[in-house]
Amino acid sequence: MNCEQIAELLPDYLQDTLSGEKKELVGLHLAQCAECRDEVAVWKKLTLLPIEQPSAESRLRFEAMLHAYLEGRERTGPGLERERHVGTGSFWPWLRTPVGALAWSAALLVIGIFAGNFWGNRTAHNTTSQDEMAQMHQELTNMRQLVVLSMLQQQSASERLQGVSWSRGEEHLDPQITAALLRTLRYDASVDVRLAALDALSKHASQPQVRRGVLEALQPEQSPLVQVALIDQLVEWRDRDAAQHLRNLEQTPNLNPAVKQRAEWAVSKLN
């Protein structure tokens, strides 16, 4: 058999679905044809590629999305389900209405008063109180994170902006929020949301992944407005690695003249 005839059988040979006789024919051909043998070898080598594993955050994002969807469906009823955007319809926007905000604030106040009393009255059981307070604090933090992560995935830019602004309240960014903000900075379709994400990240320069993420966002960014903001941020941080990236950026064909000028200025500041 020649290579052309073998080509028809080879895909089945690779999935090991050939009958005995045909398999033998392919085997005989492979023994004498280096090129076809190499094709099989390269196919087998593909198993060298690692199996990629999604991050733990992926499950959390899914849960937040599912939660928002189920909440929304409960409020709108199944009949309206198909007419609305998933996850955008009911619960989170409701929190931002005056009534929702009031309810949210009241809930936090009640939790605060309860926690205060609890703390004051239970000094005799200090260890238990501390544990419970820590647990309560953790739950509040988790809820806040859930809200931020959920809002950053919304379809409307204004809701994503809201998500970014909620993340500003965090003194120390949780890694999941950091990752979500960096993803927003890199991929969000809205210039405003990307700028807001950069602003939120700017206060967390002590985290190496924030600096790295901002640096990596520079080259693929297409909006001159965001490019200039990124450059300014890198200058403000006096980022040691930035100069080379900025020089690379300067070489980009059709770069906006204002961005090019800003990059040149930044390189002179960083050197």
Binding site: D38, L46, P54, S58, R59, F62, L66, R183, Q219
Partner: protein, 198 residues
């Protein structure tokens, strides 16, 4: 963990038990993530696309017809989600030198170097050929399933797979001979960007 078949779980989701989607997510998030990671070479984007697939399942659950193999259905959604993403956000093709692998002695890291070259060869292939290789080699889809997914004849799938293997081999061997001479040069010429995961 539920042992119910995918199709039964999806019918439950379709009939209003959205929480049953969690089981399907646990079964499919890793294969889908791998599918996207090997197609795009971008981990963060791959995670976003996996989320998008499950969001679409919820949105369009009523379009799932009883008797439809769930695996075929979800891969159809996955392909559409990727196409839609690139329609909205055109790809930025840039080379990031810092992503190049460290140069190691050949005998010390031959396997990892081969894997890196294979990854690069795969990323240099035209998308359609890369996709059919990923579907058949990594997603373990049968040729019949791929034919249904791509809406073409079984014979066409086999021909395309063979051509894709030929091209992969050609690029891989070229990269390999380049890497043997001058690893950094070969890297810089060849490779589409691959961003580190978050």
């Amino acid at each position: 963990m539920s042992l119910a078949p995918d199709e039964e779980l999806m019918l439950d989701v379709r009939n209003g038990a959205g929480e049953r989607l969690g089981v399907l997510f646990d079964r499919y998030q890793a294969p889908l993530y791998n599918f996207y990671a090997k197609l795009t070479g971008d981990r963060a984007l791959s995670e976003d696309l996996v989320q998008e697939v499950f969001l679409r399942i919820l949105k369009y659950s009523r379009s799932y017809q009883p008797g439809t193999p769930f695996r075929a259905w979800i891969y159809q959604i996955a392909r559409n989600a990727r196409v839609d993403h690139y329609r909205k956000t055109p790809k930025h093709i840039t080379f990031e030198p810092e992503m190049a692998p460290p140069v190691k002695p050949k005998d010390e890291a031959q396997r990892s170097q081969e894997a890196e070259l294979l990854h690069r060869a795969l990323m240099q292939m035209p998308e359609a050929k890369r996709e059919i290789l990923v579907l058949s080699r990594f997603q373990e889809l049968k040729y019949e399933e791929i034919a249904r997914l791509l809406d073409c004849e079984l014979g066409t799938v086999k021909t395309r797979i063979h051509r894709a293997i030929q091209e992969l081999r050609q690029i891989f061997r070229q990269l390999e001979s380049g890497a043997a001479g001058s690893p950094t040069t070969a890297t810089a010429q060849a490779i589409p960007p691959r961003r580190a995961g978050t």
